[in-house]
Each structure stands twice: as C-alpha cells, then as structure tokens.
C-alpha cells in the first residue's frame, strides 16, 4: 500500500461492497478516475450503478471497502463534507427542488461557498451554458420540462465548483435533441477541467463521450477498457449497443 494518491487519479474505489438489508447491491467494485477524464459506468437496470454513486457521495451507511478522493479517504464522511471537498452529484431523476425557483436552485448549488461575487459570476456562466435557465430564472423549477430540469440539475451541481461531477443517467427520458444538448454541455464541462463519472444505460451516448468505461452487472464490474475497446467488445456490442438508440 502506498500513501497519497496514485499518480493522476482523482477517485479510487477499492473493494466497495454495499448492502440494503439482505440485498447486496454492490458485491465487489474497483474503479478509478483519472484527473480530467470522463469515465462511463454502464449497466442494465438494477446492476448497482446508482448505489455506487450514492456511496461515493456518502449517502449510504452500509458500505465496505475504501473510497479515496484526491488522495483523502472519504469512505465515512458525511455527504455535505464530500460536497465541500469537491464532488457534486446530479442524482437519478434530477433531484431539483420543485417549489423553489430556478435561481434559488442554482444558489443552493453554491451552498458550500462563501465567495458572493464569484457565485454571481458563476450563475451568469451557467446561463451561457444553458440559456434557457436564464429565461426561466424566476419560475418554480418543478414547472419546467424534463430537459430543462436536467440542465438545471447539472448547472446546480456545477455551482459548487466540483473537481469531480457524478452524473446519474442524464439522458433518461429525454428527447434525442435534448440529449445531444446535454452531452455537448458535459463535454464542455470536462474541457473546462472537471472530471466526470457518467452513469448510463444508454451505452452508445456514454461511450461516445467518455475516455474510458466500465460495464457493471449485478453488483460487479464485468468489462473495462478505453471507450474504443468497449465499443468493439462483443459482449458490450450485443447487450448494450444492439438494443439502444
């Protein structure tokens, strides 16, 4: 074992196991993300992807194994501390606050920050990334379309200025054109220096954007490699690429 982070790794998960009562949702998981990478985590419904993200964010109590972020052990940290360290999550189903306005949602994204002027500048930056948010800034977030809510959820997560962004099925339930827009934003965010863990059932979209990927089945990683390797992998082709878009 070495102290400190392995070179260039922003996130390292070693031997993660997670149970919900008797159900073992994650059986054995090793996964790492290099600084500046987009890593895709793909798998069918119920394979344990969301549970993995929840564990990284500190939302599940019953975990074994070790999660390190930028060299520090975050396995037992409370969720709000993990956000403070620089990991933001866009949860499954977006998780926007429906009764609050778009602007209030964005401000809550910056809850851990104190730099008022910079927060205002970042809100303007988010409006440039997703112009529709500016048009709707005074509107209750719950009244927006699914695509707009997804944009808000991503922008809100960025308001914390994360080093690592976790995205749980950002394309779910959205029209192809909106998905394109969302993915263009994800690439842009990554180019601005944010590492991304991208969870998807939509393997084609995810592998199109990612540098590397992992395939998860019933709580385990079954295949991993570069995006190009995965796209030509027979298992991935038959199970994930044949059946999607």
């Amino acid at each position: 074992m070495t102290d400190g982070a392995s070179k260039g790794k922003i996130l390292e998960i070693d031997g993660l196991q997670v149970s919900y009562g008797a159900v073992q949702a994650v059986k054995q998981l090793n996964l790492d993300i290099g600084a500046g990478e987009i890593v895709a985590l793909i798998g069918t419904n119920g394979s344990g992807k969301t549970t993995t993200l929840r564990s990284i964010s500190g939302l599940v109590a019953n975990t074994r194994g070790r999660i390190r972020f930028a060299g520090a052990d975050i396995t037992k940290l409370a969720p709000h501390r993990i956000v403070g360290l620089g990991i933001s999550q866009v949860p499954e189903g977006r998780g926007i606050f429906p009764d609050l306005t778009v602007l209030e949602n964005l401000r809550l994204g910056a809850y851990v920050r104190r730099d008022k002027a910079e927060i205002e500048a970042d809100i303007r930056r988010m409006y440039r990334l997703f112009p529709r948010l500016e048009e709707r800034k005074k509107q209750a977030a719950g009244t927006m379309s699914g695509g707009e809510q997804q944009m808000l959820a991503i922008a809100r997560a960025l308001m914390a200025r994360p080093k690592l962004l976790l995205l749980d099925e950002p394309s779910m339930g959205l029209a192809p054109l909106v998905v394109k827009e969302i993915y263009a934003a994800i690439r842009q965010i990554n180019q601005d220096g944010v590492s991304v863990l991208l969870v998807e059932q939509n393997a084609k979209m995810a592998l199109g954007a990612a540098h590397r990927g992992y395939v998860m089945e019933t709580g385990r990683i079954v295949v991993q490699g570069t995006a190009a390797e995965l796209k030509s992998n027979d298992v991935v082709k038959s199970v994930y690429l044949g059946s999607t878009v």
């Binding site: 964010s57 500190g58 939302l59 109590a61 409370a78 969720p79 709000h80 956000v83 403070g84 933001s88 999550q89 949860p91 998780g95 926007i96 606050f97 429906p98 009764d99 609050l100 209030e104 401000r107 809550l108 994204g109 809850y111 851990v112 809100r156 997560a157 914390a160």
Partner: protein
C-alpha cells in the same frame, strides 16, 4: 357581538398557528408527527413563569429566555428521542414521541405540582375599546407578537440562505445533502424554531387564561395539530392559515352553538380533513399517511 367573536377567534387562532408551525416544520422534514410538541408548549409556558417568578425578570426577558431554553429542549428531544430511530419503521418514532410527552408532563408535575398557576403579571388585564370591540392588553400582545413572529419566519424561509436550505431539506433530505447542506443541522433548527414559537405561545396563553398547568399541552396540541393538517401539514403558510381558521370556527361555533362543542369542533375538522382532503388547504397532492 360578531366582531368581538371574530377578534377572540383570531386571538386564539394566532396561538394555534404559532404552535402548528412546530408540527408542520418537523413533519415537513422528517415526516413524523412530534406528538410531544404540545408538551413543549407547556414546558415553554412554565419556563416563562419560572423566569418571572424566581428571577423577577420583566416579561420581555422571560419571553426571550424561555424561548431560548425551550429551543434547546426541542433540539435535545430530537437528538435523544428521534435521531437514533431515523432508520426505524415510521411507527417507532411515534411511540417515542408519546414517551417524551409523558416524560415532560411528569417532569412538570414533579417540579411544579399538578395545580394551576396564575401568571404573576399585571400585564394583560387593561382593556381598550374601539367602536364595539374590546381588546384586552394581552389580546393585543397575542395578535401583534404572533404576527411579527410569523412574518419573521416567513421572511427567514423565503429570503435567507439558511431558510431556503431548510425548505430544500423539507423537499428532500437526500437532495439537500447533495447541495452540501448539513441536514442534521437543519433538523435541529426546525426543532429549535418550532419549540421557541411554542414557548412564546405558551407564555401568552398562560397570561390570557391566567393559568399554567402540566396538562395544558394536550388540547392545545391537538388543536394546533388539527390546524397544521387543515392548512396542509408540512406547509408553513398552511399552518398559519389553518390556525387562524380553526380559531375562528371554534370561537364562532362556541359562541353561536355551544361552548360544549368547542373540542368536538376541532376533532370533527381533523377527521373531515383527513377523510376528504388529507393534504389540507395548501398542501401538495402527494401526502404520506401519518
């Protein structure tokens, strides 16, 4: 006569509203009914009495100190009686609430006896007449202070970063935590504010009826809970509206039908709302069965 009854109804309605806010804020976040809340109101009243009697403090200081002390008691109750049961089945914290309720009443009986205590203040007896409506000093205090406290709460939850974070926490604990909000702190804050408001209500009720006693929290608690459900439990403006409505209905019913029916009115409203529209007047559609 009618105007006088409306004034009296509004007075008691503001009290219900103040207490109802504690039920609704806690329910909003934790989805549990803090059945000990009526007894927190009682303890708050006794603490006000205590500060005035033992230390001869002026009324406003008694309010401040009792509210602060009751807030701390509220925080402790959550820490000791509810937080350890956060993962347990919904019925478990309910039983724990009943335990806390019994404990608080017994504690008050041990410390202060079972009898009624008059409130040691000359304040409240003077009256003012406008047209054909007579206000007592304490009624004016209740109307003004309750209004100011509710306005302050409304500004807090809509205009401040912490207040908005508290509302976000009541929309979703998980998603609030993902914003970096310390949700346990928000829960403590909800208990603190609810308990402090209940304490203010307790002191004002103590002066209004010139009586403080260990079981005073039962009926007040049930009425305020009804008010919270009527307005839409979990909804802050709803609790205010529900409180005022219940106070008016109860007082008018008492005046024009019979005072015997006062408590029946509140129970009937509770049952009717739960049957017809469990989400209350301002509540959202989806509501979990308590």
């Amino acid at each position: 006569m009618l105007l006088q009854q409306l004034t009296n109804g509004l007075t008691i309605g503001m009290i219900y509203a103040l207490i109802a806010l504690g039920y609704t804020m806690v329910y909003g976040i934790l989805k549990i009914v803090n059945f000990a809340h009526g007894d927190i109101f009682m303890i708050g009243s006794f603490l006000g009495l205590f500060f005035m009697q033992e230390f001869r403090l002026p009324l406003y200081l008694a309010f401040l100190l009792a509210a602060a002390a009751t807030a701390i008691i509220g925080i402790l109750i959550e820490r000791l009686a509810y937080r350890p049961l956060r993962m347990a089945d919904r019925i478990v914290p309910l039983i724990s609430a009943l335990g806390v309720s019994t404990l608080l009443v017994s504690l008050a009986q041990k410390l202060w006896g079972t009898e009624m205590h008059p409130f040691p203040t000359a304040f409240g007896s003077r009256t003012y007449t406008f047209g054909n409506v007579t206000f007592s000093e304490i009624q004016i205090l209740i109307l003004v202070l309750s209004f100011v406290l509710m306005l302050a709460l409304q500004l807090f939850v809509t205009r401040t970063k912490t207040g908005i974070a508290m509302r976000a926490t009541s929309m979703s604990l998980t998603h609030a935590a993902l914003m970096g909000i310390n949700t346990n702190r928000m829960i403590s804050l909800a208990f603190a504010i609810g308990s402090a408001l209940a304490s203010c209500a307790g002191i004002m009720v103590g002066i209004y009826y010139n009586a403080v006693y260990p079981t005073m929290g039962y009926m007040a608690g049930i009425n305020a809970f009804t008010a919270a459900v009527l307005g839409g439990i979990g909804n802050i403006p709803g609790a205010m509206l529900g409180g005022v409505l219940l106070g008016l209905v109860e007082t008018l019913g008492g005046a024009y039908i019979s005072t015997q029916y006062k408590s029946v009115i509140s129970f009937s409203i509770l049952i009717i709302v739960l049957l017809v529209k469990p989400s209350g007047i301002l509540g959202s559609k989806e509501i979990n069965k308590v």
